[in-house]
């Protein structure tokens, strides 16, 4: 693993986080999902994700993908944005994993090129895998795009997720920004003092040292944060203020989500 690779990874991570910040703007728009109680969004979209992962029929997963697209349109989430951020990325990553299945799964041969043969079962398996991941990630992205992070956390807490788990999630999200910033500064500082290209072994040593320094900074920061929490009265349990209220439309939305999820899982079994 070269230093350049790590560097570009950190930069890519920083870009992803910048995009995450932009998504807060989408969360404030007045679309279908944004109008629903965040708990309904969490439970509803999770039930559709569960259905997509349980079903074995391509048609059913495709229908769930259609639901995700419809929800995106009704929630004013740009399809172009989903295409760039989700669909193409998932296709590239899952495609690499799914591609061999087309050739190595035994079954009815559809086409043959030299030693390679495409089977109907292989094609079906690969399509199901890609479509399933595309659907699940699209639904998950809709949840994140249409819900401010603070509300996602509040919903998870309202859904009885342990306080400690929610607090850990909140802190991870908060401090990953700080660490990325630190990592970027470290890479920049190193680049500013470097002349020419270093040999691979030296790059690896540098990458390992950078990782070590980042780790010790993480430990130091976590100790400081703990002290800052203690200083403001934290005694092991985070007290929060819940301000969520369910309306009739929220209950109707929840019911529709659950029915859709259960129906898809049942017919796709």
């Amino acid at each position: 693993m070269s230093g350049r690779f790590l560097e570009s990874t950190a930069m890519g991570f920083a870009r992803a986080i910048t995009r995450a910040m932009e998504s807060e703007r989408i969360a404030r728009q007045r679309g279908l999902l944004q109008r629903l109680d965040p708990r309904v969004r969490v439970v509803g979209l999770l039930s559709l994700i569960l259905a997509a992962t349980l079903t074995r029929k391509i048609g059913v997963v495709a229908a769930l993908f259609g639901v995700a697209v419809l929800l995106a349109i009704l929630s004013r989430v740009s399809l172009l944005l989903l295409l760039r951020r989700v669909w193409l990325v998932v296709l590239a990553f899952t495609g690499v994993i799914a591609l061999p299945a087309i050739f190595i799964t035994p079954g009815t041969v559809m086409a043959r090129t030299g030693a390679l043969q495409v089977t109907e079962q292989g094609l079906r398996t690969a399509t199901l895998l890609v479509l399933r991941v595309e659907t699940a990630v699209s639904l998950c992205s809709l949840l994140v795009l249409c819900t401010p992070w603070a509300m996602v956390l509040q919903s998870l807490r309202a859904l009885r997720l342990p306080r400690e788990a929610v607090a850990m999630l909140a802190m991870t999200y908060r401090y990953v920004f700080l660490l990325v910033e630190t990592a970027s500064q470290m890479f920049e500082s190193r680049r500013s003092r470097r002349v020419g290209i270093l040999p691979g072994a030296e790059q690896r040593r540098m990458a390992a040292r950078t990782a070590g320094v980042l780790l010790s900074k993480t430990v130091e920061t976590s100790n400081e944060v703990y002290l800052a929490m203690q200083s403001r009265g934290f005694r092991g349990e985070v007290e929060t203020l819940s301000s969520l209220h369910m309306t009739m439309w929220d209950y109707i939305g929840l019911l529709l989500f659950l029915l859709a999820g259960a129906f898809a899982a049942w017919i796709g079994r």
């Binding site: 807060e24 401010p148 956390l153 908060r174 800052a228 200083s231 009265g233 005694r235």
Partner: protein, 265 residues
């Protein structure tokens, strides 16, 4: 209010405080002056009950700030409401998803009633001029805004003792001036303000008493005017440095203080 008797503290064998003794009375505005590593931040943490003294005693209104005592809610809850620390690095203090949650964190941990929390947080945001930031996540704030939110996150409790660790460090001149104005507003109130800094130029504005620290000990303790007038002491404590420069053909050196707003010779 605070009494320290022969206090020792170390970080894994590296001494930070070495036999420190001092008293701080209610309503005093004290500046802890000292170069980096002189023990200022450590002292603030001991005063806030975050670190226990390795040897010696730290007392708050006669009560010892020991680990055992701080585990007792009947002591800790009022103590945390009355004594607040603003950390040097606001990033470690801002760990909530939004500014509003950040300011509400302390009152919620101290189990204030919901209505009181909401009213007090809104009022604090308004007083600090940061109402517009209420829904913003802390990582999207500028350095000055982060510092104001960090201050708001403890001022919401209306504490009697404020411990400020380098409150103006890394701030641009305008943000520095805003923070100093805020501290100056507390002059004459019953609030005790203890500020750790190595910025001499702000001390006159924020303190009536200076404690100079050197290698974990009190090197000097006196009125602001008296300490700032002792250039030898400041030079020894690394708070000023000899500066060589030229006026035409004449080159000379003298103690020198750096400042954004002033440049003193």
């Amino acid at each position: 209010m605070f009494e320290l008797r022969e206090v020792f503290f170390d970080y894994d064998g590296v001494p930070a405080l070495q036999g420190l003794s001092l008293d701080i009375a209610k309503g005093e505005r004290v500046a802890l002056l000292g170069a980096n590593g002189s023990g200022k931040s450590t002292l603030l943490r001991l005063l806030d009950g975050l670190y226990p003294a390795a040897k010696g005693a730290v007392l708050f209104e006669g009560a010892p700030l020991t680990a055992e005592h701080l585990q007792d809610d009947s002591f800790t809850l009022p103590f945390r409401r009355r004594v607040a620390l603003v950390f040097q690095n606001p990033d470690v203090q801002l760990f909530n998803p939004t500014v509003w949650d950040e300011v509400a964190f302390a009152p919620l941990q101290l189990r204030w009633p919901k209505e009181q929390v909401v009213a007090r947080v809104d009022e604090t945001l308004r007083l600090m001029g940061i109402s517009a930031l209420r829904e913003r996540p802390p990582y999207r704030l500028s350095g000055g805004e982060k510092k104001r939110v960090a201050l708001a996150s403890v001022l919401v409790l209306d504490p009697e003792v404020l411990l400020l660790d380098e409150p103006t460090a890394t701030l641009d001149p305008r943000s520095q001036s805003q923070v100093i104005d805020l501290i100056q507003e507390w002059k004459g109130s019953s609030r005790t303000v203890i500020t750790a800094t190595h910025q001499l130029e702000i001390v006159e504005d924020i303190a009536d008493r200076i404690i100079v620290m050197e290698e974990g000990r009190v090197a000097a303790d006196g009125a602001t005017g008296q300490i700032l007038g002792d250039r030898e002491l400041l030079l020894r404590a690394n708070l000023v440095h000899a500066h060589r420069h030229s006026h035409g053909d004449v080159t000379h050196s003298h103690p020198h203080v750096h400042s954004h707003g002033k440049h003193e010779h």
